[in-house]
């Protein structure tokens, strides 16, 4: 039975592959000699889409056409730098169509971004990227002229990665603007941007950013291989690519692919030998390979004084443990090992447990679910309403429930402390939220044994994870003493700059 399904799947895959190759061949078709045929093909391919603009013109006494996409070009640039010069260009005698195209390219147009195009596939891609395509009758080539000019969100500080110091710029949806933000920060000719395409239908532009001399060639080739295997129809967000970039069979709550909306953070990672992946239409860069310890490092750490940066880093570690373990530990100890609490504290906890109708585990779970519902509601609502939800949640539900004796004040405090701690490391919110619930369940059923067991399993899970051959838990396990200068402490820049460590040099 299994074999039958396997055969079926493999047959389906072969069929799909064949279809894909046919499609590829069709698209790689060369441009025709005849302008009429070319235009017909464009119209047919776009199925006479409303935003396809074809303008027939006469250039140097030859029939030609300019093809653009509505809304993708800067009309002013198009009129002044393309239409004006070519329509009024002086005629040169005895030139073939190809020579006329060359003449226009070299002598008439002042726009620097000009690309020779010979296939329909390239033409489609460029037109849809905001280029204007100039085609001459009797010429098998076309000229793509860069007049991109679509509207995009202005550069602003990313709301999910607010920093006290450092740059206030964040990525935007337009990929080329993001590339300039990186280039402005790393003015090194070795910084390379490599464009690839993803999504069979969306043909989304993605760009790999790395520094040629620093990046590991092995990691780069492996990444390209993995991206080439992406068989999605549409890539509408960078996050779509994550399962394809992560190691196969990688079952973990933690991702070994990093995210950032900040160009300065991405530049820092690129300088350490990592590769950033920008996806057109997403203001987020993916960073690979990514280590667990990097979840606790922010750009602010490197802008602050070392002693304070070290303190904040330790606060983040502590917050992670509180956010993940505290409710589970609280339930486990209060239910099964109350003797560990100081006498006065246990009397308060016992009083609270005795006064509420639910078992402690259930009570903690209920409060957590209520909190998660309020958080989700606060996220989706407009800001003024979000504040209202907070007030309703905090004052009405919280205080009233305690006063009514439905929930205990110590439990509410534990959940509140956990919630606040989880916001200290916002990138880890998703895994901590899930783990917290599991720890509460395990703590309520198996006590301290269950909590410690799950904690150990979690450590094994994190330690056995690796991406592109780099252990996720590095440099803690495998241990690297030298790297501890930026893990246990954050030493001064004078010390940090003494030796540059790249990601591929991490112990593995």
């Amino acid at each position: 039975m299994i074999k039958f399904f396997k055969n079926l799947i493999s047959k389906y895959e072969i069929q799909n592959e064949a279809e894909f190759v046919d499609h590829e061949k069709e698209n790689k078709q060369s441009l025709f000699d005849s302008l009429k045929k070319n235009l017909e093909n464009f119209k047919n391919s776009f199925d006479e889409s409303a935003d396809l603009t074809i303008r027939p013109i006469k250039v140097l006494n030859t029939n030609a056409a300019i093809i653009t996409m509505e809304g993708m070009i800067n009309k002013e640039t198009f009129a002044t730098s393309v239409m004006n010069p070519i329509v009024y260009a002086f005629e040169k005698e005895n030139l073939t169509s190809s020579e006329k195209l060359e003449y226009i390219k070299n002598n008439i147009l002042t726009i620097s971004e000009q690309i020779d195009v010979e296939t329909f596939d390239d033409s489609f891609k460029l037109i849809m990227s905001g280029f204007a395509l100039l085609i001459f009758d009797g010429c098998k080539k076309a000229l793509a002229i860069g007049v991109q000019g679509f509207n995009f969100r202005s550069i602003s500080e990313p709301e999910t990665e607010v920093m006290q110091k450092g740059s206030k710029e964040g990525f935007v949806e337009a990929i080329r603007i993001n590339l300039t933000m990186i280039r402005r920060r790393i003015k090194n000719p070795k910084l390379k941007f490599e464009f690839l395409s993803c999504g069979n239908t969306s043909l989304t532009d993605i760009c790999l950013c790395y520094i040629k001399d620093i990046v590991s060639d092995k990691i780069l080739q492996e990444l390209k291989k993995r991206i080439s295997k992406v068989n999605l129809q549409n890539v509408l967000a960078a996050e779509y690519l994550v399962p394809y970039i992560e190691e196969k069979g990688d079952l973990s709550f933690f991702s070994s692919v990093g995210f950032s909306e900040r160009p300065d953070t991405v530049c820092g990672k690129i300088a350490e030998g990592r590769i950033a992946i920008l996806v057109d239409g997403t203001p987020t860069a993916l960073i690979v390979p990514y280590l667990f310890i990097e979840y606790f490092q922010t750009i602010d750490d490197y802008a602050e004084r070392p002693y304070f940066a070290t303190l904040t880093r330790w606060l983040k570690y502590l917050s992670f443990f509180i956010a993940t373990l505290l409710p589970g530990l609280y339930v486990a100890l209060a239910v099964f090992n109350p003797e560990v609490f100081p006498d006065r504290l246990i009397s308060k906890i016992a009083y609270s447990i005795a006064g509420t109708p639910f078992p402690l585990m259930l009570e903690t779970l209920i409060i957590h679910f209520i909190y998660e519902i309020m958080r989700e509601a606060g996220l989706r609502l407009p800001r003024p309403l979000g504040h209202a939800v907070s007030i309703v949640g905090g004052l009405v539900i919280g205080e009233t429930a305690v006063n009514a004796g439905l929930i205990g004040a110590p439990t509410l405090m534990v959940v509140a402390l956990t919630a606040i701690s989880s916001y200290v490391i916002p990138n880890l919110y998703e895994p901590t939220a899930i783990l917290r619930l599991i720890f509460i369940l395990v703590g309520g059923i198996l006590g301290i044994w269950g909590v410690m067991l799950l904690f150990s399993v979690l450590i094994v899970n994190i330690c056995s994870k690796s991406n592109f051959g780099i252990p996720f838990a590095s440099p803690i396990a495998p241990f690297d003493f030298y790297s501890m200068r930026d893990v246990i402490t954050r030493v001064s820049w004078k010390t940090l700059s003494k030796k540059n460590k790249t990601i591929q040099n991490m112990p593995h």
Partner: protein, 360 residues
Amino acid sequence: MERKNIVTAPQLFSLFFLCNIIIGITYNLPMAKSIGILDHILSAIAALFINILLIFPIYKIYKINPNINIVDNCIKNFKKIGIIFLIIYGVYYIFVCCYMLSLFNIFVRDIVDPDISLFMLTFCVILGSSYAACKGIEGIARACSIILFIICLAIVFIIFTIIPQIDFMNYTPLLFNGPNDFINGIFYLTSLSFYIPLAATLLPVVKSGAKKVLIATNTVTYILFAIVIIIIAGALGDYLKTQTFQIYEATSTAEIGVFKRLDAIYLGIFTSGLFITVSLFLFAFFLVIKKILGVKRNKLIIFFADIFLLVISLILPEFEEISCFFYDTKFIFVFTFLTSFVIPTTILLKYKLNLKWRND
């Protein structure tokens, strides 16, 4: 054959050391058939030297060909007869898992007696350990180094809380009741040197420094053991003689400032360490069984091994006669001696004979 050096020497040390710590914290006088705990200080020193002798054949085999473990060596030197040795190793590794788990069950059921399902707890430990074993030695070794660090901090903390309770009147002269406790202690400690047969399988995964790892594990383990005995004997005195799990009792009476009853820390150490130890022996067991049955039946082996472990570890504490045999020091000693010394020595002799025949 390609050498798979995937674990560093400190990681291997942490694996062996953690394994010994867990065996150490479950140390109990009734199983050692002793009354005087202080005599076990001398036993620890003697066991240290005996273990060096026991380790020697395994280390020698490793030095001859560092690329292959005992599993491959058995087949290489004895062909089909080697499978008998492999079965002995497989049984030994699963025996250690059963021993640790059933001891844990006895501890939870008889000493702590919490309001939790023992079946559920054992099931979760086995499930977690199988997951870790499937993840491979790399993952276990890395996790072990972190867990060991946490455990060491906890042990140091517990030691410091017990030290103020030491009463020098509790110390009696060594060998006060004759040499029996000392001899029984040697048997007990040597029989629980589970890490030696484990080393036979795991040594080839280390990058370098296997010799240092073995010496360090042996020395640090018994020094720590001696220190712990001195402290708990000084703190608890004769009270220890009436208790089964002495170190647990010591932690439950420890207090410092607002911190009282530190037995919760002991429970945490025990669970984490047990998880790592069982996953380590399960990993070794899977290696052996894979060699015997072939790689393809991997998932089936894990499933049946888990069921077997669950049944044995839950049933064993219920039947006194079987458990008496199971926890008998002589039986464990013979088994450990067979797997750590007799079989490796036989392999070594066979290898030397083969070499001699080839040269002749």
